[in-house]
């Protein structure tokens, strides 16, 4: 019984964290599914979004949840422009080039942040940052619970967008058959940029939900980027459901790993899963053939 009372809060905590990981991974998996590229700049763009939330709060007194009105749109614009005018232009139709360009972008964004904002840790204080919710005898931080439902809502909205709208149809068409989509009159470059923009907009939402219970430094993206990759690989590249389940699973693994192995070694569990999946089942648990 005593073991259960330690395990349950830890699992629930892991699930709420995992929902946020899933949200970050959703953007990554959307971008991969459509453009077939791995966006190495994903972590640093999340960091950028977190700074956006921070400065809205510090400069304009706009709280993280009010920022939900601005941040997704702003990050969408950033993503659209990056894909249309930098990544797409530099790719020369070779996947290796995209890999290198997104790596270059992540280095630039992260180090410019370091230059302008220094490596101070910044937080946004809200009156409810430390409030908790009791669930099955476990106390969960309120911001994390809100983030959990926010992540689920975003995933649902994405699903509707992909299956019920013309844009979603075009995105799926381009993902399946680039050339055919172009032949029936779809502006492929525009759809690429839209997909990238939507993927990055997810980071804007994630940043608003994350900020009340987290902090921001120029290096904050690192922690998320490999975790997001792990989730995407675990769930199957391009699979939404896979990203959701994978995110929750990784959140629990991290939380339990931290409980049993300690904070720093706990991360090893995630990397071990990552390497094992890449080696033995690179299509992921729910993915299709690459």
């Amino acid at each position: 019984m005593s073991e259960f009372s330690i395990l349950l809060p830890s699992v629930l905590n892991g699930i709420t964290t995992g929902a946020l990981y899933a949200l970050v991974a959703l953007g990554l998996t959307l971008i991969y599914g459509v453009l077939h590229i791995i966006n190495f700049a994903h972590g640093s763009l999340l960091m950028l979004a977190l700074y956006g939330v921070y400065f809205l709060a510090a400069g304009f007194d706009i709280g993280p949840y009010q920022a939900l009105v601005f941040m997704p749109a702003a990050m969408f614009a950033v993503g659209y422009v990056l894909q249309r005018f930098v990544i797409g232009k530099a790719s020369h139709d070779r996947d290796e080039n995209i890999l290198l360009v997104t790596l270059g972008l992540s280095i630039v964004i992260e180090n410019l942040a370091l230059y302008f904002f220094r490596s101070d840790t910044r937080v946004v204080d809200t009156p409810w940052s430390f409030e908790t919710v009791e669930l099955l005898g476990a106390f969960l931080p309120l911001p994390k619970v809100i983030a959990f439902f926010g992540a689920l809502a975003t995933a649902a909205a994405l699903w509707v967008l992909m299956t019920r709208t013309d844009l979603g149809k075009a995105i799926r068409a381009v993902a399946k058959e680039r050339k055919g989509a172009r032949l029936v009159g779809i502006d492929v470059d525009h759809v690429f940029a839209m997909s990238f923009g939507i993927g990055i907009a997810c980071l804007g939402i994630a940043a608003c939900l994350l900020m009340p219970s987290y902090y921001v430094t120029p290096q904050v993206g690192h922690g998320f980027v490999l975790i997001a990759f792990t989730i995407v690989v675990l769930g199957g590249m391009g699979s939404f459901v896979g990203a959701l389940i994978g995110g929750l699973f990784i959140g629990v693994v991290e939380s339990l790993g931290g409980l049993f192995l300690g904070e720093s070694l706990g991360q090893i569990g995630i990397f071990a899963i990552f390497i094992l999946i890449l080696l033995f089942r690179p299509t992921g648990l729910l993915g299709h053939k690459v």
Binding site: I37, I38, F40, V86, K89, A90, H92, D95, E96, N97, L99, L100, V101, L103, G104, L105, S106, I107, V108, E110, N111, L112, A113, L114, Y115, R118, S119, P218, L226, F229, V233, S264, L265, Q267, I268, F271, A272, F274, I275, L278, L279, F280, P282, V290
Partner: protein
């Protein structure tokens, strides 16, 4: 043979330079360029000639560096033996990473991700286990003398890195003139066709990654002996992985002299940046990243490709 002659002339010229330059500043610059060229050539062997883009060469570099340091500090083993052991250990790690990933046919982004993850795992491990000094790092006691692979004067380090870089460049030259190298490049250009012709993809790629890992490990050994201090972030951190791939990409991937060109160009760039911005954190790396994007966008063959383009333009511009 012609490229070998050029290589000999270049390295002979680099070798006699220290006889004329007496200032430590210049000698330091030469050391920095040769060190970056060694790192870059190591990556170039696998990435440029073999077409396998690793994002985690720090895994090999750090293993070389930690091996020589730990053997000295914890077990009192002479660094000359440590040098061989470091290179061998780095080769072993490379063989392990290669065997796992190439066996399962990982290519492109997947290979980049798996190498990155291996480097991260090693960084976390070296941050947690006691014999690497964990987060505090490891300090090699100062004891100058050739027998300790430590030198009181900079010129000793110059010769050390000169010899290591020469070995790496000879290996890269050999790739351009051997069956093994031809097979490695065939796998890069069209893996399916090469396999159809009977090239054993696994064995050749394994050879490539081990060669690459050994030279990265040597660079790590040099780093450890030169600076006499290591910590997990320095040895296994992403900065080394990025520098390893940036040098040959800037200079020209898959070319013999690309890494040397890239190393020299990046050194000049970083000196200029330091002059303008001082030691402001982040700015030099931000410029590196911007350069990477710029090169991929406009100069996909690097600086070495620049010569080729202008030669072609000249020919085209000639009146008919």
């Amino acid at each position: 043979m012609k490229t070998l002659a050029i290589l000999a002339v270049v390295f002979a010229a680099l070798g006699v330079l220290p006889l004329f330059v007496v200032s430590d500043v210049w000698l330091n610059s030469l050391i920095a360029v040769l060190y970056a060229a060694l790192l870059g050539q190591a990556w170039n062997i696998l990435g440029g000639y073999g077409g396998q883009f690793s994002f985690g060469h720090a895994a090999f570099f750090g293993t070389g560096a930690y091996t020589v340091a730990v053997l000295q500090v914890q077990y009192g083993i002479n660094p000359w033996i440590g040098l061989v052991a470091g290179a061998a250990a780095a080769g072993l790690v490379a063989a392990f990473v290669g065997a796992l990933s190439f066996r399962y046919g990982l290519r492109g982004s997947y290979f980049a991700l798996v190498t990155l993850a291996f480097a991260e795992v090693l960084r976390i491990l070296s941050n947690s286990v006691p014999f690497t000094g964990a987060g505090v790092g490891i300090l090699i006691p100062l004891d100058p003398g050739a027998e300790n692979l430590q030198f009181a004067h900079k010129s000793g380090y110059f010769w050390m890195i000169w010899a290591m870089a020469l070995a790496a460049f000879l290996a890269a030259w050999w790739l351009g003139h051997s069956r093994f190298g031809a097979r490695l490049m065939a796998l890069r250009d069209n893996e399916d066709a090469a396999r159809a012709l009977g090239v054993s993809a696994l064995r050749i790629k394994l050879g490539g990654i081990v060669m690459s890992g050994v030279f990265s490990g040597l660079a790590g050994v040099f780093y450890a002996q030169h600076y006499l201090y290591l910590d997990p972030g320095l040895a296994y951190g992403p900065a080394i992985s990025v520098e390893s791939l940036l040098v040959p990409i800037v200079g020209g991937m898959g070319t013999l002299f690309g890494p040397l060109l890239g190393a020299a160009a990046l050194h000049v760039l970083s000196e200029v940046t330091r002059d303008i911005f001082g030691d402001a954190p982040g700015i030099s790396l931000a410029i590196y990243g911007a350069l990477l994007i710029f090169i991929v966008m406009f100069l996909p063959h690097g600086l070495a490709g620049l010569g080729r383009i202008s030669a072609r333009r000249l020919i085209r511009a000639r009146p008919a």
